[in-house]
Every structure is written in C-alpha cells, then in structure tokens.
Symmetry: C2
Subunit: 332 residues, 2 copies
C-alpha cells in the first residue's frame, strides 16, 4: 500500500501540563496481519483524561506507556484484511489500538460493531464506549440514586458526565450538572434535560446552595479541584460520592490535599473509587441498555471532533483544560 | 435521702483542648421519679471520645450539650425506686443518663442488664456497650474482612479497637493493631491475640511496611491525624476504610486537610463513615454474639477505671490524649 502508518509516540514524561514536546509523530510501514490477526484502518481515536496517567511513570492501576511507545487509546475502524475467522473486510471494529492510523490486531482483542444500527461508529468511543460504561457503572453500581434524591455531576457536558446525569434522571433523581461556561450549561439543561446546570466559573458555592437547598445525596466525581472543594461540604447525611477521576488535578504535582474526612462520620458518607474494567457485567448491561435508549431517542450525546491524527496532542491538552465540548474524538 | 446528686455541667465551649474550666460541678437534689419513671443510682459512667463533639456547637449529627446542661453520657446503675412496671429496686440498668450520680428516667429509655450473667455491669458500657457495638458494626457491616486479608486497627488497646481487632481475627483476617507505647502494644499482641501491634510513636511508616508488605485491605479508622497519614498511602487495591471517629483531631481547630482522593480511583478504595445508632439490627447482633464470645472466654477486654465523678473531666481530657489504657469508665 502506498500509505504509511502515522503514529504518535510518547517522547518524554511531562511534569505538570503536557505539550507538543512530549509527543513525537512518526511514519511507520503499515503492518501485515499474521495468522489470527486483522488489519484495521482506524477511523476515530478516542481522547480521554485517563491518558494523562499513562504518560507518567507513577505507580497506578495500569503500567505507563513506555518512552518511545505508541500512546494508548481506543479506536474504531474498518477491517481491511483478515486472518481471523470472525472478521471480514468491511467490518467495523473497536479496540485499544493506540494513537495511530493502522494496526494489525489479534481478533480476540477486537469487538465487532453492530451493523445497520444507525449509530455512528464514533459513538462506540463515547456514549456506547468506555465513557458511557463508566457513567453507567458509577450511577447504577456505585451511587444508586433513589427517586427524589439530589444528584450532582461535574463535567456535565462531557463524555461521562452527560451519560451519568441522564441515567440518574431516568432513575428518578433531581440532577444538577456542573460545567464550564454558559454555553455548556445551556446545552446540559436544554439538550440533556438536566434539572439545573451550574457554571463553575461563576460563584459555584452560592449556586450549589441555591440549587441544592437540602444538600447533595449523590456526587459523581470526575474533576476534583475546586469543584470537589465546593461540593464536598454540601453532601447530605448518608450521601455517596463515586470517583472515576479528577481531571482538574492531573497536571498538578504533587497532588493537592483533600478534605478532612471527619465529615464521613458526621454525615455517614460513603466515598468509592471505581474503574470501568472492574465491572464487566455492568459494562455489558450498558451496551444493551444504552443502545435501547439511544434508539428510542432517550439518550442525547454530543461529540467534539478534532480532524487528523496529527492534531491529537493539541486536542488532548485542551481536554485536560476543559476546552472540548462533548465527547472528544479524533477523525483520522 | 441524705445524699445529693452530683452533676457535671458544661460551663463553656472549648476551642481546642478542653480543661477543667469548661466543666462545672454542682450538687442538686436527688430527683423524685414520676409515673412511668425509675430512680437510678448511677454506678459507672462511660467516657468516650464522641463527647468532645457534644461540647462544641458546630453542626454535627447530634445537637450539642447546652451550656449549663448536664454532660451527656451512658451510665449503668441500680434501680432504687420504680414507677414503671418493668423495673424493680435492685435491677441493674443502662441508659444515656449523663455525667451525674442519680437520675429519674422514663422506663422506656432504660435497658435492663441480664441478671446472673457473671459479667460486670461496667462491661455494658464497653465491650458489650456502645463501643463494642461500634466495633462489630464497623467490622461486620462496613469492612467485611475476608480470610487472608490484612486488617489494621488504630487505638488497638482502646474500647473500640480491641473488639474490632478480635472480631476481624475471628473472621480470618491477619490483624495489625496500632497503639501508643510498648506496654499497650504488648497487651494487644499477648492478651488480645493480634498478629502484630505497632507503636505509632516509633517510626510507624517503616513498621507498617514491614508488618503489611502487601498493603492494607481493611483499616478501621478511629483516630485520624498522623496515623491516618501513615496508613492511607499503604491501602491495597479494593481496600476499605471504615470511619467511626478521628479522636486525634478533635482538639484541632480548624481540622487539618485530608489525603488527596485520587487514590480512591487508582486503588478502587471505599471509604465509609458510620454511626452506631444507624445500625440497630447489627447492634442487637453484637449484644447476642458478644455475650457468647465473652462467656466462652473468646473475647478479652480491659477497663481503665477512674474513681469518683468529680474526676471525670480530667479523665476525659486524658482520653482525648490517649492516656487511658482500655475502656475508660468512671466508678461513681
């Protein structure tokens, strides 16, 4: 083939904010699929906050990307050649194939996307992908909101927050989003149907007092930082906080201290961190239930599409600063 | 009756460490029981860290003791007169009767102690009382240790920690206590049978690394402060922390910050605060099961008995500083 495989490698490990200097673009030959493998032409790459953790060599739940290695990430793409009986050219697949244009993957590492579902393949990186599953697990397995409860979710227009709030609302909770700026807040209430959305740039503490006069029963935490500081003291007795990430602090080193934990006793709070891959059964549930909601028009989502793999590093840096609006993907 | 009722009132609210100046001793007439009431001569008063919270008017799970009011606390005592059909003179009872020598209590607020059980009445303030129930709930309802797990408990020679560790060990966990000083540590391993006990005054971090080489699965938190700082980073994946109090910080104002919470995600930790009164069913369980263990010699406990109600304030101040050794009660 005439084309080369554009790849983005991790060049050096950032302290604080990553920049273009931490990435390297290279061109490699397009790989040949061996027995059992499938050659995939990637069409969309997902950009997600967790990737910041993979750039560091601090001990974490997953090993870091090695220096000089291809950045990790989920992709959807089309099968071009197949040496695996379950896949044929033209099939759409998803898999953790990295920041690159092509890959040869063993068939067992790929998931075939349903044909003719009417859903854009990129949705399998967002609303029906890892972020959607994360939201579903955090709401239905960890927080378990009950009708009448007040449910607050940060980064409410983002890939995870938008699904979390919509699912919580469907479970009967009063859902208050938090987002950055009036335009995102308008989208969250008008398009996603949240009961309220507060701009964290504009006096969040007073806004929370007004929007949650009886306190907060459930908080879906995915940002940390000043939003966490404002929400934590407003938790109500028997409140729950689900932690799936704290993107506002990923560029801070060392990480800032957290709240004094005596409030856990006084208010009988439960704080629980979770990772999507620890809950495969619930993840499957979302693939089924989310698809139903989407088909019935009961689930809204928005994508922010960056054009061209070469722009992935800049888009990723923007993601860590909240500059995206909706699920961030790269069209390759 | 010739005797008067010695009472200890809250005179003023401490900022930081309480002292004798925050209490007032007064003598009042011994009350007359009215219809439905029982006159109780208190024999033992329980002193517990939560009482520090009742001295402050900060918002908490229970209202503060009013200025000039009798300090709150659990007592066991003997019935002297009864206007209630369920009680007769000579019965032993327990109830939240306050820091005083006598009280007239409605029968519905008292619990009759089992006669002829061979257990000292004061045990119903400790091992079979609120501290014992707290330990049982934290272990069996919140932490739920599994065989082979490493279970760490702070204030291990204290009223709550001693029971928590013994119950966890009976559930198959490897139990590591933390206590202040070599004498307490020796008691915890030799008398209570913990697998290890670490002196928090002597290089706790290195000692934890040595005693818990694979990390900590369950932490029963009742002290906070520097012990929490040492334990938290050593929690293992899927670890749980149960919070029933943070006595080392009760005299600090404002409370110090806590740990950064991103570790909750990385390690999928669960942190849960609880209060004994929210779990009445499990509390009943302990009254039954704890009595069995005690009768069979499978549960050790130790009391630190202060003599005379007038010495309660000084004993209580010592409790907040870890100067007691075992469950602190006052013999009246």
């Amino acid at each position: 083939m005439a084309e080369a495989n554009l790849q983005i490698l991790l060049k050096s490990r950032p302290e604080g904010r990553p920049g273009p200097e931490h990435f390297e673009l290279v061109q490699s030959p397009i790989p040949e699929p061996r027995h059992g493998e499938v050659l995939v032409r990637h069409r969309f790459l997902s950009l997600d906050p967790y990737m910041r953790g993979r750039m560091s060599d601090a001990v974490s739940y997953a090993p870091p990307v090695p220096l000089g290695g291809v950045m990790e990430g989920e992709c959807v793409g089309e099968v071009v050649q197949s040496q695996h009986p379950n896949f044929a050219p033209g099939d759409w697949v998803s898999g953790a194939r990295g920041w690159q244009g092509w890959s040869a993957a063993h068939g067992s590492t790929l998931v075939k996307l349903p044909a003719g579902s009417g859903v854009s393949p990129s949705a399998y990186l967002g609303v029906l992908g890892m972020p959607g599953r994360t939201a579903w697990i955090g709401v239905t397995e960890v927080l378990r909101p009950k009708p009448g409860e007040t449910f607050v979710v940060a980064a409410a227009s983002g890939a995870v927050g938008a699904v979390a709030g919509q699912v919580a609302r469907r479970m009967g909770a009063r859902v208050v989003g938090i987002a950055g700026g009036a335009e995102k807040c308008r989208y969250v209430t008008e398009e996603l149907g949240f009961d309220a959305c507060l701009d964290h740039r504009e006096g969040l503490e007073a806004a929370l007092d007004a929007a949650c006069p009886n306190g907060i029963d459930c908080y879906f935490e995915n940002v940390g930082g000043s939003v966490q500081k404002s929400v934590f003291p407003r938790m109500r007795e028997f409140g729950r906080i689900a932690f799936c990430g704290m993107v506002a602090e990923y560029n801070q080193s060392p990480p800032p201290p957290g709240p004094n934990l005596m409030a856990l006793v006084r208010k009988r709070l439960t704080l629980q961190g979770f990772l999507v891959n620890d809950h495969p059964r619930a993840g499957q549930e979302w693939m089924r239930n989310g698809a139903v909601l989407l088909r019935e028009g009961k689930l809204q989502f928005r994508e922010d599409v960056a054009q061209g793999l070469e722009n992935a590093p800049a888009a990723f840096v923007g993601l860590l600063e909240g500059r995206n609006f909706g699920k961030l993907v790269v069209a390759i």
